[in-house]
């Protein structure tokens, strides 16, 4: 009797007009087998084939068909909504820490609310609201941060006292609570029915749905999807959408050209009970108790309660494709701690009778964010999977963004945090995924504090200097599998262990990073920056220059030896990448991009560079170790090591030259530091790395050299107002909006991608503006620190969010970077943001509900920094990446 889903009979082609369909959805599982309709044969071709009939697949079909694409086939290996979708708890919750996820959940909520009316399929949508409980102050802070971002999105939300919580839900034991967050518009749905409703609507719009049809593999020719092979024949198609949920990884690997979709399934348990003596009201809010690792919703007069245990059970690591998820074994011993947490939260439930413990596998991803987008290797191969147990909350919104992406070429929001191309083959190892998801699943409930690092799947990519740096006290973080130094713990000093260093306040590394920053300012520091993505583009003729001139906004026809900072823009003028390009020779260029651009930038260039055998693009990331020498004494140090004058007269800023350092020849030296401080980056062929590092450290002794890490770099770049791609800059930000007109050469005489959009912006003005804020009344020691995503208020009205922030050891203030919009007071319409608009406002930054005064600046401080620099120093207001 525990069936909250509807079962459909075998393979009928879905047509809303088909009277059978109505009858069958309204009856429970039909026992009649004689009425089974004949399977309808598959079409020979279609524009789009979607694999997977769960919430994501049906949502993609729904949105594609709404946007006018009609020639769509949806294939489901078992029955519609019979996988994870069938079992999931059906909670639609908007309380998400990542902004894009919040937007998706908010859209899903609104979509589901009207879905029953739209389709006539009962979805069980009930607006119950949700209460997230805090057992600790830190938890309450994290809830307050979420509440801040919900409020500015117009989603009603309230921080409430424990007493108010018990008024909303009488069963809650509040003795150990410090507060809670109430989101009144969160909802419950019958997830399988939502999926069926979406399928019904899609089917009415012409989407063909075939059940009991398995995709065996996808065929790709010349980097484009050409069709799918199924157990019932082949369908030719231009687009394929992998919505196979936990089977997406295997399906991706089944073709000749594998598509790496890094996700892994874990068992997930929830409990169903019989109704209470006095059945619970179906409007009772859902309770989330992250400190107890559980959620509790009302279910048919009883409760449904599940959670995210500390010791998850990953499964299907070896890969096992089965038709539907069989009801896996109940494991009460495993569920025990969650049951304790449930009874602690609601002691009144002790006498409640158990109905079932449901074991429903969910898929998780290496960074807790879902996976969407186009494969970097196969055009037309789209993916939407890895929902990290929030498939219902995200399904609607994610389907919409993916449909927009397919139809328009790009989604309407910045989805880079979810883009498949943030991963590469390196995250696709089964062992890595198994280990990482065992860390990720418990994290669903763990406190998420700033600067958190994964512990599993580490030490995969390392610099040749890793051991040397580690022995000197390096503390590591990981980006795209690469180990990077955060800071160096001086000998004799001990930091808090991992659990105790989790704080929203001043972190324990504060003084350590301060000392590294000071050394960068006064002497010289060395930072290993080997993780950066490095490409070489060369040609036999002028093809390289011509292509780059078209793909990049700055003028790359510069003298050999010059380095150019430039954006790689899309048609709308937004940053797809932000990089430095050195002209090595007339016909070859060396391109440095952020670490996580390795897959995205490669795919972008590959798809746009002409198919010309004279033109070569090579990923040389692994060939070079990069040492960044930052500080006023870097000049002296490098002159001494190379017997070459390094002063600005001989080696101007933004210059690149191959020279010898110590015994090693052929070191590519560039006069950039990514911080605005004077210095050089050395690109060293890896076999020389240790030698050069030793030389630098030995010779550097007399100049006071020390090792430094990325936290020092971050502080330096933010106080210099350097934006960083992936954090501050994204595909929806143009150079005009972040004060980088000087990196765009509209009149370079060559047409380039995004030129038109930028021209338009130049004439009409921008609708948001990258601004630097200095917090005025913020006490570094006692106030909560800003991180990113904090709302910005201008004259008391919300104008945007911060994108990054750091403590400036020079200003002795916190600096936040973020975008200011100008929303019309009445209509909310976005208006042009002028310099005056920025300058004539009183600003506040909201950190977890507390507002701090901030001074806005459009240009960096220069007088404060003692280092004298050239007049034409462009790097100062230039860019930065991490």
């Amino acid at each position: 009797a525990a069936r909250m889903f509807l079962r459909l009979l075998s393979d009928i082609q879905w047509r809303a007009a088909n009277p059978k369909w109505r009858r069958m959805t309204s009856s429970r599982r039909s026992t009649s087998t004689t009425a089974e309709p004949h399977p309808v044969s598959l079409p020979a071709q279609a524009q789009v084939v979607i694999c997977g009939g769960g919430i994501t697949g049906t949502s993609v079909a729904y949105h594609l068909s709404k946007m006018g694409w009609k020639d769509i086939v949806l294939l489901e290996q078992g029955r519609l909504a019979a996988g994870t979708t069938r079992f999931c708890a059906g909670i639609v919750s908007t309380a998400r820490p990542v902004s894009i996820e919040l937007k998706m959940a908010n859209y899903s909520n609104k979509l589901y609310e009207q879905l029953e009316q739209e389709t006539g399929v009962p979805t069980g949508y009930t607006k119950t609201g949700s209460i997230s409980l805090a057992q600790t102050q830190d938890r309450l802070i994290s809830l307050k941060r979420i509440a801040s971002s919900l409020s500015v999105m117009g989603i009603p939300c309230e921080i409430i006292t424990p007493k108010q919580a018990v008024q909303l839900h009488p069963l809650i034991n509040i003795h150990d609570l410090v507060g809670a967050m109430y989101v009144p518009e969160d909802a419950l749905v019958t997830s399988a029915n939502v999926s069926l409703a979406l399928a019904t609507a899609a089917s009415r719009n012409g989407v063909q749905i075939h059940e009991r049809t398995s995709v065996s593999h996808v065929t790709v020719q010349k980097g484009r999807v050409t069709g799918v092979e199924t157990d019932r024949g082949r369908i030719q198609c231009q687009y394929f959408v992998n919505c196979a949920g936990q089977w997406a990884y295997e399906l991706g690997h089944s073709g000749e050209e594998p598509v790496h979709i890094p996700l892994h399934a874990c068992e997930h348990f929830y409990l169903l009970t019989h109704p209470l003596a006095e059945p619970l009201s179906s409007s009772l809010p859902t309770v989330v108790d992250p400190d107890g690792r559980i959620y509790i919703r009302n279910w048919q007069g009883g409760i449904l309660s599940g959670g995210f245990e500390k010791n998850p059970k990953p499964l299907f690591t070896e890969g096992r494709n089965q038709l539907e998820i069989q009801n896996l074994q109940e494991d009460w011993d495993h569920y025990g701690p969650l049951l304790s947490a449930l009874l602690r939260r609601m002691p009144g439930l002790e006498a409640l009778q158990i109905m079932q413990l449901v074991n429903c596998p969910e898929s998780f991803t290496p960074d807790m964010r879902c996976i969407m987008g186009e494969s970097p290797t196969a055009r037309g191969y789209f993916v939407l999977a890895g929902m990290n147990s929030a498939g219902v909350s995200y399904g609607g919104g994610a389907g919409k963004y993916l449909a927009e992406w397919m139809v328009n070429g790009y989604p309407s929001e910045n989805v880079w945090p979810l883009d498949l191309k943030r991963f590469g083959t390196l995250q696709s190892s089964r062992t890595f995924l198994r280990h990482r998801v065992m860390e990720v699943m418990p994290l669903m409930c763990d406190l998420k504090v700033p600067r958190w690092d994964f512990q599993t799947g580490r030490q995969l990519r390392t610099s040749p200097l890793y051991d040397r740096l580690d022995a000197q006290g390096a503390r590591w973080m990981e980006k795209h599998g690469f180990e990077r130094v955060k800071y160096f713990v001086p000998p004799g000093k001990d930091l808090l262990d991992l659990d105790h260093s989790k704080t929203f306040y001043k972190p324990d590394w504060f003084d350590i990073v301060g000392a590294e920053v000071k050394c960068c300012k006064e002497a010289v520091c060395v930072i290993d920056m080997s993780s950066f993505t490095k490409f070489e583009i060369s040609s036999t003729g002028d093809e390289a220059l011509e292509s780059l001139q078209y793909l990049f906004s700055n003028d790359l026809d510069v003298p050999v030896g010059h380095v150019v900072h430039t954006g790689m823009l899309n048609e709308k003028g937004g940053y797809e990448n932000d990089c430095s390009i050195a002209r090595l020779s007339k016909r070859s260029f060396f391109m440095i991009s952020p670490t996580d651009q390795q897959v995205h930038c490669w795919a972008w260039l590959k798809n746009r560079l002409p198919d010309d055998s004279n033109l070569t693009l090579e990923d040389v990331t692994w060939k070079y170790t990069a040492l960044n020498l930052i500080g006023p004494r870097a000049v002296d140090l490098l002159s001494e090591l190379s017997y070459a004058p390094m002063t600005a007269e001989h080696f101007p800023s933004l210059f690149c030259k191959e020279m010898s350092v110590g015994y090693a020849n052929g070191i590519r030296v560039m006069s950039i530091t990514h911080t605005g401080e004077p210095g050089f980056v050395l690109y060293i062929p890896i076999e020389y790395a240790l030698h050069v590092y030793n030389e630098v450290m030995n010779m550097g002794q007399k100049y006071g050299i020390r090792n430094a890490g990325y936290y020092a770099l971050r502080s330096l770049r933010i106080e210099k107002f350097f934006a960083f791609w992936g954090q501050d800059l994204d595909a929806f930000t143009t150079p005009m909006e972040c004060g980088r007109e000087f990196q765009v050469k509209l009149e370079k005489g060559v047409e380039f991608v995004g030129q038109e959009a930028l021209l338009e912006q130049k004439q009409n003005g921008v609708y948001k503006r990258f601004t630097m804020f200095i917090l005025e009344d913020h006490d570094t020691d006692t106030d909560l620190w800003p991180w990113w995503g904090e709302p910005i208020f201008r004259n008391g009205r919300y104008v945007g969010k911060t994108t990054s922030s750091a403590y400036s050891y020079t200003l002795e203030r916190h600096v936040c970077l973020g975008f200011v919009h100008n929303f019309d007071e009445k209509t909310g319409e976005e208006l042009v943001v002028t310099t005056d608009f920025i300058n004539q406002g009183e600003y506040e930054i909201d950190i977890a509900g507390q507002r701090f005064q901030a001074k806005a600046k459009l240009y960096p401080f220069s007088s404060l920094f003692t280092q004298r620099r050239r007049k034409d120093e462009v790097e100062l207001s230039g860019y930065q990446r991490e």
């Binding site: 109940e330 009460w332 011993d333 025990g336 439930l349 006498a351 409640l352 009778q353």
Partner: protein, 455 residues
């Protein structure tokens, strides 16, 4: 200063050893499934020893624990030699002849024992020739004696114990031209060791005990509960029969001085032991041997010291008390342990902890609600209980380790307290002996199916 659970585990598991009797055709026809053993030192170096071996020329398995005192030399020697003496005592006449002929003609010797040793359990290479010669003399005498009767296990055990102790004594009196060996045999003789040895052959279990180590049988009652059956008597002042025996063997004039402060002659805790020639030899013999012995022996105050009221030696014997037990299907396991365990734990608790461990490891079935009416509260209670049981069980793969964990770490509620365990294990060497004794444990698990088939 606390040890983390992994540190605690690495200390507890350092000496653990497990042996499973190999199966043939998927069947184990032996009445023994296997055994777990472990030891935890308090003395540095540890003075306890353990041995386990399968008899190859007769049937049966030998297991023993040896608690040394006044050094570990005697316990070490007994652990190396005793099982050979027992095995030889059990051998039929023809086999003895065969072996002797092989030695005589320099042919390969039939293997007598298959040892089951932890890597830390060593045999002294230097003394092997000397020990072998003594053993050979013993079997030659057995051949000469040829009684023609089938060997009785009880007799064999008693003879082996007595003979070995006698050899230890003789070797010390004769000495050895090699100065290292000479000193070794003296140290063996002047130190002492108790021994508790089990011989299992089918359903016949013999325990031969000398001293205050103990053998205990774990019995599962029909209701599933566990009880303990003693298979040895402690030879110490708490045992009235032992006190009686000692008094019987000496003139009435010594009655008051024989046992003082619960010790033999006010000095020795166990009333029976190997070695300890200070309690066996005449004063003249002791003085002669010490004077002609090496300097190290002369300078040792302990060896030179003659026990007070020493009038009618010997006061001490190595003769074991042998108990025979016919194994029954409900007899699930045997625990052999030195007094370090029994000082801290009652045998009833030992039976329960080992019993639950052995069954828990194999029989913890997953719970399924099925069609039953179960409330959240009931399920919670059930799970909590299972967790408490499993949490301590899961840390150990070895019943002896599990028992040591309880012996050292149990709090007043009978559950393992990590803090206490950590404190006890991190005691400095010089303090450890004040809080606990060396503990050596062997847990033998019986094969109820095979034993059931005998009945």
């Amino acid at each position: 200063f606390y040890l983390t659970p992994p540190q605690v585990n690495s200390i507890l598991k350092a000496n653990e050893y497990s042996f499973k009797v190999p199966e043939f055709d998927g069947k184990n026809v032996s009445s023994v499934l296997g055994f777990d053993s472990n030891q935890l030192p308090a003395n540095a170096p540890i003075e306890d020893r353990r041995s386990a071996a399968t008899c190859l020329q007769t049937r049966g398995m030998l297991l023993g624990v040896f608690d040394g005192h006044a050094g570990c030399a005697c316990a070490q020697a007994v652990s190396e030699r005793l099982f050979y003496y027992i095995a030889v005592s059990l051998l039929p006449h023809e086999t003895l002849l065969e072996i002797e002929n092989a030695v005589e003609s320099g042919r390969a010797l039939l293997p007598i024992l298959q040892w089951h040793k932890h890597p830390n359990d060593y045999f002294s290479k230097e003394a092997s020739k000397l020990y072998f010669n003594s053993l050979r003399t013993y079997w030659q005498e057995l051949i000469d004696l040829n009684s023609g009767e089938t060997t009785d296990v009880r007799e064999a055990l008693i003879n082996a114990f007595k003979r070995l102790d006698n050899d230890i004594s003789l070797e010390a009196q004769v000495g050895d031209p090699n100065s290292f060996l000479n000193y070794l045999v003296l140290r063996v003789a002047f130190s002492g060791a108790t021994a508790c040895v089990a011989h299992v052959d089918g359903v016949d279990l013999h325990i031969a005990n000398t001293g205050d180590s103990r053998a205990m049988l774990g019995v599962q009652e029909e209701d599933g509960s566990w009880s303990a059956v003693n298979l040895s008597y402690d030879h110490n002042a708490q045992n009235e029969h032992e006190v009686e025996r000692v008094k019987m063997e000496h003139p009435k004039s010594e009655e008051k001085t024989l046992v003082k402060q619960d010790r033999l002659l006010g000095l020795l805790m166990p009333f029976r032991a190997f070695g300890d020639v200070k309690f066996k030899w005449s004063i003249e013999l002791q003085k002669r041997v010490i004077e002609s012995g090496p300097d190290q022996l002369n300078e040792n105050e302990y060896t030179k010291f003659i026990p007070p009221n020493y009038h009618t030696p010997p006061y001490l014997t190595a003769e074991p008390e042998v108990i025979h037990h016919k194994l029954r299907p409900q007899d699930k396991f045997l625990v052999l342990a030195t007094d370090g365990l029994w000082e801290t734990m009652h045998r009833q608790d030992v039976a329960r902890i080992v019993g639950e461990y052995l069954t828990g490891v194999h029989h913890e079935q997953p719970i399924a609600v099925g069609g039953y009416k179960v409330t959240l509260g009931q399920m919670h209670g059930l799970l909590t209980e299972r967790r408490a049981r499993i949490s301590s069980v899961f840390e150990d793969q070895n019943a002896a380790t599990h028992l040591i964990r309880h012996a050292v770490g149990n709090n007043e509620f009978g559950t393992v307290d990590h803090e206490r365990l950590s404190k006890m294990l991190s005691l400095p060497e010089e303090l450890a002996r004040m809080y606990r004794d060396d503990i050596t444990i062997i847990v033998v698990q019986f094969n109820s199916h095979v034993i059931g088939a005998y009945h």
